[in-house]
Chain length 427, copies 2
Amino acid sequence: MQLFTEMTKEELCAQAAKARDIYDAYLRQGISINMARGRPAAPQLDLSDPLMNLTKADTGFKAEDGSDVRNYGGLCGIPEARRLFGEIFGVPADNVIVCGSSSLNLMYDYISQCCSHGALGSSPWSKTEAPKFVAVVPGYDRHFAIAEHFGLEMISVPMTPDGPDMDLLEEVVKDPSVKGMFCVPKYSNPDGITYSENTVRRLAAMQTGAADFRVIWDEAYVVHDLYEEGDELANVFEIAKEYGTEDRFVAFASTSKITFAGAGVAAIAASDANFSDIKARMTVQIISYDKLNQLRHCKLYPSLTEIRAQMKKHAAILRPKFEAVLNVLHAELDGCGIASFNSPRGGYFISLDVNVGSAKYVGELCKACGLTLTGVGATYPYGKDPADANIRIAPSCPSVEELDTAARILAAAVKLAACKELGADVG
Amino acid sequence: MQLFTEMTKEELCAQAAKARDIYDAYLRQGISINMARGRPAAPQLDLSDPLMNLTKADTGFKAEDGSDVRNYGGLCGIPEARRLFGEIFGVPADNVIVCGSSSLNLMYDYISQCCSHGALGSSPWSKTEAPKFVAVVPGYDRHFAIAEHFGLEMISVPMTPDGPDMDLLEEVVKDPSVKGMFCVPKYSNPDGITYSENTVRRLAAMQTGAADFRVIWDEAYVVHDLYEEGDELANVFEIAKEYGTEDRFVAFASTSKITFAGAGVAAIAASDANFSDIKARMTVQIISYDKLNQLRHCKLYPSLTEIRAQMKKHAAILRPKFEAVLNVLHAELDGCGIASFNSPRGGYFISLDVNVGSAKYVGELCKACGLTLTGVGATYPYGKDPADANIRIAPSCPSVEELDTAARILAAAVKLAACKELGADVG
């Protein structure tokens, strides 16, 4: 395919007409496809239906420490669940707290705690004049929403193929009013990038103006490989120990995309000091989390081995979906010079950047055609993408056939937007 | 029994010797009984084991609105769960949010929200110079812990047989820095008192200095009758509407003492305005709560009728336990003038006040004998009972035989403490 930017007006008009024909054909079909959110599809949820088979005969509803999981108690979670998440995080079970179903809620709670009470005895962040938070962009809208909710002004630092732009970040964090950042270090949302070991090392080593700087290390996709050979993420706690900055990192994960999105188990990994700080708050907040659900999970997935086997089944469902989208995007957009996109080896998203044209306009065209994307702009703080370029594609929920259709509509819309930008009549 | 205060020294010494004999006999037996917390006993938990029978064949894991409860979505809970809690609270389902397993967590979150963001657009409570909260005493230590955690200075208002001392409360709440209060309006913790309709009315009608005054209406024991004829609690939302103060009350309940203490379902009932305010925060906090557990509950307990039937089974287990304690206390302490206690018709506690002697000393004697009570003082803010009088008895967990023993040890300890106070040698 020829570069759109080097086409004559006539060539552009021909491209626009072709794209318009494809688009209009789908428009007449009355499509309805939703690629807005990273929701698992029903066949993925079905994989974990055996979770429901937990019986009293099998377990007496007792955890391995003999405690009755139906009753109050065990604030930090049952031992077997702490051990399982310890394996997932790569930390000792003693540094893990296993909680309810939502890791987002745990991150919200931790930020809330830092704002109201500070971290490890520091001054509450809410007492800081104009506290700030780094937003790695593009990023996860729900992270940004938490920072916004607590009045943490966001400073954007762009992603690179190795993780956040560390040269820029190292400058930004010198400001003592910059209190922390969210990271999705493996298969980042939406880029699907895994931070390099060098990036992890620089995050651990960097000099922060704020002594209570916190990295919310959201391991949302920590075991979520699409291919046999997955990306490797360096162990942030081990590296941080070399620099004495293990208190800088608090890690979160859940089984939302391992078992049931709405009824899984979430957990925290933290240094000894942060663990005590978080536990002290939780002692006030709750008597204990749902240990029965923890036990269900541990019976079916007692160790990382069973988790990895489960993730291969997810991959078998998800991989053809990602490939359905990528195949069309490659066929339709490669060489046009109007868009770029990643080919992630895990996670839940494909990130598409419109280099020529407007992402908002692409989103409008798709919507008018019955294709719902993640709200354009959502991958940037305050929902405002300054370049109006990024589009997040969530291929998990629709069928392969729907995704083929969706990708063709999207590619046509990207071409129409580019032709319009370059001055062609797009009809 | 003769009043201890009217006994001669010799009579007192004889009483002390008798109590000491009883106490020493148990001491030699090497008792270990825990009456510290309101934990359901295993036979109560067994009542809800059928919750675990939810199958895909029965439900397709679909809520009545067709949503897949295994997946994300449905922030406010599944419709049937909202309807069920609507019945329990006596409010429309539209005013109910059904959440995770812990109502304590929901109260914590709401107070946290008021402190960081205010209520319905008011100034954040944390911005108030020395914000205060009313503590109805004796009361629930976990409520007090939340207020203390958020720096809300507690002002004690004593309970009466009709609820909080309203004459005093009406004065206290005139101070605009007094931001709210916790109430357990039915079968209060620990007194087992149900607020009279007049008390509920005065709470709704009272003039508060703070426009954003909030009553945390903790309906922890709303259906937890011990007898066929239970106490009746007036509907606070209906009454508040008469005074235009429905935004003053936010109600909380859970199935922790209906189904599984550690794996139940909790909910909030709130006015339209508070509902919107809470939902807006939750939108940032979590994608959705565990709807699978909500569905389990609704299948087994679709309406208040099935809940009430379940509570009769709980009562059949709990009533003999309460009566075992009360029978001994009556037999041993009536007419002595050294202690008073309530005979609750529901809830989880018996509240014992030592009129002569020291509750702390009683607690120490019991502990030395292997009987663990709720930490003496815990029923007052900051763990300090100014009169050193109140002891909370939680009879749900031990067996009837253990409770008979526990009550005899307790009665002996109360007598020993009184004799000591009155100058007799207690050995």
